[in-house]
């Protein structure tokens, strides 16, 4: 599915779902019509829910929310019930609003739709506007539209702050995520690179349809900045082992790598501006080095 088609489908399902959510909320919500038992089913939904809702509104978050390596809201998630996204867990919580990812826990989502609990599905935004729209949508569904606007304002302020330093000449950058995934053109990550004044080399070296690049192609593409997540080393994996490959070590020695935690730009939120800030700083350091 193309991104545009994806967005269109997302928008249609959104309208349907808002109706559904409204109906559900009408019965069970508080005096102001806000949902009172919200369950979120993927990490990005968790982050928006924890930041935009009152704590009393939250019935459960996903099990990923408390993992400090992946989640930006691990502390806030402390003490809340968690689910693994199974239908029975979710139904047992008697939710009046379910927020699910458009590409995760599909079986559960399909079942919930069939039995009359249609979830609010959030897709993967393709740019900053998509991100703003998603924040607005979730904030509205939670009955706190003003908090959504505040979050967007914070994001925009931090973005503007970071982007004023975004420089010329535009450096060539390539993102290498675990298992050699990269940031494909036309994605939020690509938009972040552009905002930081960088050229996404992934567009040139023909990354495949799942967005993977080989280490060899990355090394030979004359990249100024290879963007990796070298943060707190987790439990061993081949993905982490690749970060110690001698070719990457040489790129690192030459000052061509910058570490950005993946969790900062996995999900919509003001922390995405932080990525732009770090990339701009790295690009400036690299330019002065050259």
């Amino acid at each position: 599915m193309s991104n545009r088609a994806r967005i269109r489908v997302g928008a249609v399902s959104l309208m349907v779902l808002l109706l559904g959510a409204g109906l559900a909320g009408a019965g069970a919500g508080d005096a102001e019509g806000r949902p009172a038992r919200v369950v979120s089913m993927n990490l990005c939904a968790d982050e928006l829910l924890l930041r935009l809702a009152d704590r009393e509104q939250i019935a459960a978050v996903s099990y990923l929310a408390r993992d400090p390596r992946g989640s930006n809201v691990a502390e806030q998630a402390e003490g809340l019930p968690r689910t693994r996204g199974l239908s029975e867990e979710v139904i047992a919580l008697k939710p009046d609003l379910i927020i699910a990812g458009a590409f995760t826990t599909r079986a559960t989502v399909a079942l919930l739709k069939r039995i009359g609990f249609p979830p609010l599905e959030i897709g993967v935004p393709a740019d900053f506007d998509g991100m703003r729209g998603q924040i607005r949508m979730v904030a509205a569904a939670l009955g706190h539209p003003e908090r959504g606007e505040a979050m967007i304002a914070e994001l925009d302020a931090r973005l503007a702050e970071a982007m004023q330093w975004a420089g010329t000449p535009r450096l060539r950058a390539l993102v290498m995520r675990p298992n050699a995934f990269t940031v494909a053109p036309g994605s939020l990550g690509d938009a972040v690179l552009t905002a930081a004044g960088l050229i996404n080399v992934a567009a040139e070296i023909g990354q495949d349809r799942t967005g993977q690049v080989s280490l060899e192609a990355a090394a030979l593409a004359d990249v100024d900045l290879v963007i990796l997540d070298e943060g707190a080393r987790g439990a061993p994996s081949l993905a982490d082992a690749l970060l110690r490959h001698p070719v990457l070590a040489e790129l690192r020695r030459q000052g061509r790598t910058v570490s950005v935690p993946n969790r900062l730009w996995t999900c919509p939120g003001p922390q995405v501006a932080e990525v732009v800030t770090r990339l701009v700083a790295a690009a400036r350091a690299r330019t002065s080095l050259r």
Partner: protein, 343 residues
């Protein structure tokens, strides 16, 4: 004397053919290693990178050559030689034309051993732990197969036991990866069960080469015992072979070669099954004669498969085991049918 001459020349002829085949196969492996170094994903001036490398200039192309292209080609040859040789040795020793480290479950047990060591964090503190884990897994499987064979389990019985062991080791590998604390681990199961040579480095070559080499020496040393074993254990023992030592060398050698290979490249199936059958029409059925040619042809097969993977348009690249299974699985079915036709 008249009767003697043609016989002598016939045996000399077959020996010459064997030596000739080894030379040709070695040349083929050398050519495929060069091709594997030359073929890759990025446009790349190999001669100038080689010049940089030889002059000691650590340019990025030199580094890509030394730490990506060359290890990938070498590992293909090493892993392929190990699998082909182990297949030929196991088939000869078990007098079983269906024997193969993959089919008998030795490869998947090695993958399980390596996975437990790697994701348990042992390999981080001691890199040698990774091949040792693979070797331990392979050794347990090889010992189990040996015990079954010693109890008189037949050709198909052993293969069924191997299928069972493979499934069990595969399931335990999946379990270990799902329980691993790293969220990427579950995605990495395909590497361990199907094998790949992508993004390996020279470190991997150094890690497995000595252990593999030792395994090869142990297995190659059994060539004459394997010939004698064609006539059964009693006859082999009467010809002066210490069968306990032979068994020990084969189990240890197979475990070292397959275990250390799987630890750096995952489990690549069917090479050990197919290659000895391709070799036998050329060198004859004497088990000892098929060892070197099987190793070399195994190396050629894995190198060829790995080159094909990079030439095919499929991205992300296919796992090695996909190609070898596409060749090997129909071959196995064919062998089974032929057996059925005979008995």
């Amino acid at each position: 004397m008249k009767a003697l001459l043609p016989r002598a020349s016939a045996s000399a002829r077959s020996r010459l053919a064997g030596a000739g085949l080894i030379v040709i196969a070695a040349a083929l492996v050398a050519a495929l290693v060069l091709a594997s170094v030359a073929i890759g994903y990025a446009a790349f001036d190999v001669p100038s990178a080689m010049a940089d490398l030889l002059a000691g200039r650590t340019t990025l192309p030199a580094l890509v050559l030394w730490e990506l292209r060359i290890p990938r080609a070498l590992l293909g040859a090493l892993v392929g030689f190990s699998l082909g040789l182990t297949g030929a040795v196991l088939q000869g020793y078990l007098r079983n034309p269906l024997a193969d480290p993959g089919i008998l479950g030795i490869s998947s047990a090695a993958a399980l051993g390596a996975v437990m060591v790697f994701y348990g964090g042992l390999a981080g503190s001691l890199s040698l732990a990774l091949p040792l884990g693979g070797i331990a897994g392979a050794a347990l499987a090889a010992l189990g197969i040996n015990l079954l064979a010693a109890r008189g389990t037949g050709t198909l019985g052993l293969i069924l036991a191997g299928v069972g062991l493979s499934s069990l080791a595969g399931a335990l590998t999946a379990l270990a990866l799902n329980l691993a604390p790293n969220s990427y681990a579950a995605l990495e199961i395909v590497f361990w069960l199907m094998g790949s040579l992508a993004d390996r480095s020279m470190d991997h070559v150094w890690l497995c080469l000595p252990l593999m080499g030792l395994g090869w020496i142990l297995m190659l040393s059994t060539a004459r015992a394997l010939d004698a074993l064609a006539l059964g254990e009693d006859t082999a023992a009467s010809l002066g072979f210490d069968l306990v030592s032979v068994r020990l060398r084969i189990v240890t050698g197979a475990a070292l070669a397959v275990g250390s290979g799987v630890a750096v490249s995952g489990a690549v199936g069917f090479v050990g099954l197919v290659v000895p059958h391709l070799v036998r029409p050329l060198v004859g059925s004497r088990p000892g004669a098929s060892l070197w040619p099987s190793g070399l042809l195994g190396a050629a097969l894995v190198l060829g498969a790995d080159i094909a993977i990079r030439l095919l348009p499929s991205r992300p690249e296919l796992k090695l085991g996909v190609i070898t299974a596409l060749v090997g699985a129909p071959f196995l079915i064919g062998l089974l049918f032929r057996r059925q036709g005979r008995t």
